[in-house]
């Protein structure tokens, strides 16, 4: 395992600095050992996708990165995960502050039952990032623009977010997440509830967002991983089997399990 990890870190250097470094991460749900000894480095301003069969722990690991697992009763995380070389599981770290810097987009679009405007303004308001209406307006507009939703909703900002279509809702959630100006964006199967056209739009968006954000995306679809990510990590039964540049993983996997998975023999 050690040897492999070192090997990988050499390979990742090609993508600039490491934003996130996870070392020997273990996650337990009560007695169940959900994540076993995962070490991975995630490089800045790139898209890293986590793939693997259902229940392999890829979502759980993603939720460790902004400590969303803290909200689940009986979940325990060991090991260290650093963000810009600061351990996010340090006692002094407030998960609330961390999550402002590590945003998250969920599997099913989950806009709040508020107006589109309030949905986007929610994060900046609770974190005190905006003062006054002008500043908020500006931030809402820029976030919606970045999420590629501005043109579609600019005339109905005060209508409820739940009235949008599925794909629009998901882009609203992305706008909501980037409104707090995070450095990292975690996406948990963001397209699994969407139709192919909406999916394509989101994928395009992810590619654009890469310029400014470090993105981790969990996906079921290997095509999607191949299309949007520069790096891929393959999880199986709670273990990180292999990671590396996406091209390498898909064309020349080192591990037999990876090969079996991408060729559809396990899943």
């Amino acid at each position: 395992m050690e040897a492999v990890a070192k090997d990988i870190s050499v390979a990742t250097d090609a993508f600039g600095g490491n934003k996130i470094e996870a070392t020997n991460v273990q996650v337990y749900y009560g007695d169940a050992h959900a994540i076993k000894d995962v070490s991975v480095k995630i490089s800045e301003r790139s898209v890293t996708s986590f793939i693997g069969p259902s229940g392999c722990g890829k979502s759980t690991f993603l939720r460790c990165i902004n400590r969303m697992n803290d909200t689940i009763d009986g979940c325990r995380v060991d090991g260290t995960i650093t963000l810009d070389n600061e351990d996010i599981y340090d006692k002094r770290v407030d998960p609330v502050q961390l999550r402002a810097r590590v945003g998250m987009v969920f599997q099913k679009p989950n806009p709040f039952p508020k107006s589109i405007y309030d949905n986007v303004a929610y994060g900046p308001r609770i974190h005190g990032m905006v003062r006054g209406k002008d500043e908020t307006d500006e931030l809402v507009q820029s976030s919606l623009k970045r999420a590629g939703l501005w043109e579609e909703v600019k005339d109905r900002l005060l209508e409820p977010g739940t009235g949008l279509s599925g794909g629009q809702q998901q882009r609203l959630c992305i706008a909501r997440a980037i409104a707090t100006r995070p450095e990292v964006l975690l996406m948990d199967e963001p397209c699994s509830a969407l139709d192919p056209i909406a999916t394509a739009i989101i994928e395009e968006l992810i590619d654009e967002l890469r310029e400014n954000f470090t993105i981790c995306i969990v996906t079921h679809s290997m095509q999607q991983a191949a299309r949007v990510s520069q790096k891929t990590a393959f999880f199986h039964l709670g273990k990180l089997i292999e990671e590396g540049p996406t091209e390498e993983i898909f064309t020349n996997p080192r591990d037999k399990k990876t090969q079996d998975y991408i060729t559809g023999r396990i899943g």
């Binding site: 998960p95 402002a100 989950n110 039952p113």
Partner: protein, 486 residues
Amino acid sequence: MNAGLLALLVVVIAAAGFILGRRRSLAIVDGEIIRLHSLPGYYGQSVFLFAAAPALLVMLVWMLAQPAIIDSRVSALIPIESIEEGSSLGLIMSDVRRIADGLDIVVAQGRLSEDQVQNMRADLTDVRDRLADVGVALGSNVKQAVFVAAKEYRQLTGFARLAMSVVVLVLALAGAVFAYAKISPDYRARNVSETAIKSLLILSSTVAILTTVGIVLSLVFETVEFFRLYPAQDFFLSAVWNPQFRGGSDLGILPLLWGTLFVSFIALAFAVPIGMMAAIYLAEYATPAVRSVVKPAIEVLAGIPTIVYGLFALITVGPLLRDYLAQPLGLGSSSSSVLTAGLVMGIMLIPFVSSLSDDVINAVPQAMRDGSYGLGATRSETVRQVILPAALPGIVGAILLAASRAIGETMIVVMGAGAAAKLSLNPFEAMTTITVKIVSQLTGDTEFASPETLVAFALGLSLFIVTLGLNIIALYVVRKYREQYE
């Protein structure tokens, strides 16, 4: 023949029909059940149904209608002028019934023969003494007109009873014979019996409607009667409640309404924040261990009868508030007060509010919480800014239901709020509510047809309309809210 025995006889006939019907169905196919359309038991059942159902139904209707018909015939025999001051036809009719019952006993015990009773005259014999001998006590001596009415009543009742027995028994037998004759291998006995059972099921489900109709009718009839005796605008607009035994009462609903709303307001002001915070804490913060202890404990509060809360208000909370708050502050010296009733009612409503809030809070999808936490919101920010707004319609519904509960609550206010109708802002004073007055006007000794008694029905109708309105709105709001997340 008495009703119980008659019903038993009908059932016996029907049961015999069941056995015979079953046997006949087997006999006509020589025991080869497969040739029958239905199992033999169903043939038995169909005979049973035809024998019992019409007969019992007729009997029920007869028994409900008979007293009204006989009463109207008999009361015609009582001359209006024989009704004394302070008495009423109703009182005389109840005397008539008691005399008739007494005469029945006299005859049954063999003290007098049927003929002797027929020839007895109230102005010649001391009927009161005769009846006292057999244990029927009468308030005054019996007048001849009343006695004649009583004898007529006896005769009519006796005749009606006999007629009913004959009609019912004939119906039962005819039904049994009819169904028995119809038995053949092609006869769809199961369908017949199932149709009958299904009508029974439908009939049962209409009980809810009948109850509502019964409530509305009984309230409306007596209320109309009340407004005939007492002007409606005085009832709704007068600020004085002062019933008198001898008439000339002031019966304004406003002081009672004020007391009701004041008590309910205090109760809700206490129960809603506590109940909601408790629900929020249990749903969002508490560890499973805490939840498993506290939740049942709060639910226990919901299972405690209101009389217990009433007693608690009367012997504990009332004196406590009086001795430690009202008297030191110089605000009152009564242990029953609006605050006493309001606080205790508030305690009663805590579990109600908290379990309803718990339901609506849990109905908010987890995804909503995740979305908020994912943006870096704290739990309280999530609760206040995402969960509560999302759950708002449901919570409003819960509060409306709680308000309807508070307004209709009786025992706590009867024992804790006092009996004085007042329009005051001081919560340490005793005031009274609509429900308290319903109880006191209907449990007193006043005559039933007086406005002082009938006002209770007008109060009841007002209460019913208000609570019904609140319930309908609340149920509608809650249902809409549920649909939003389903």
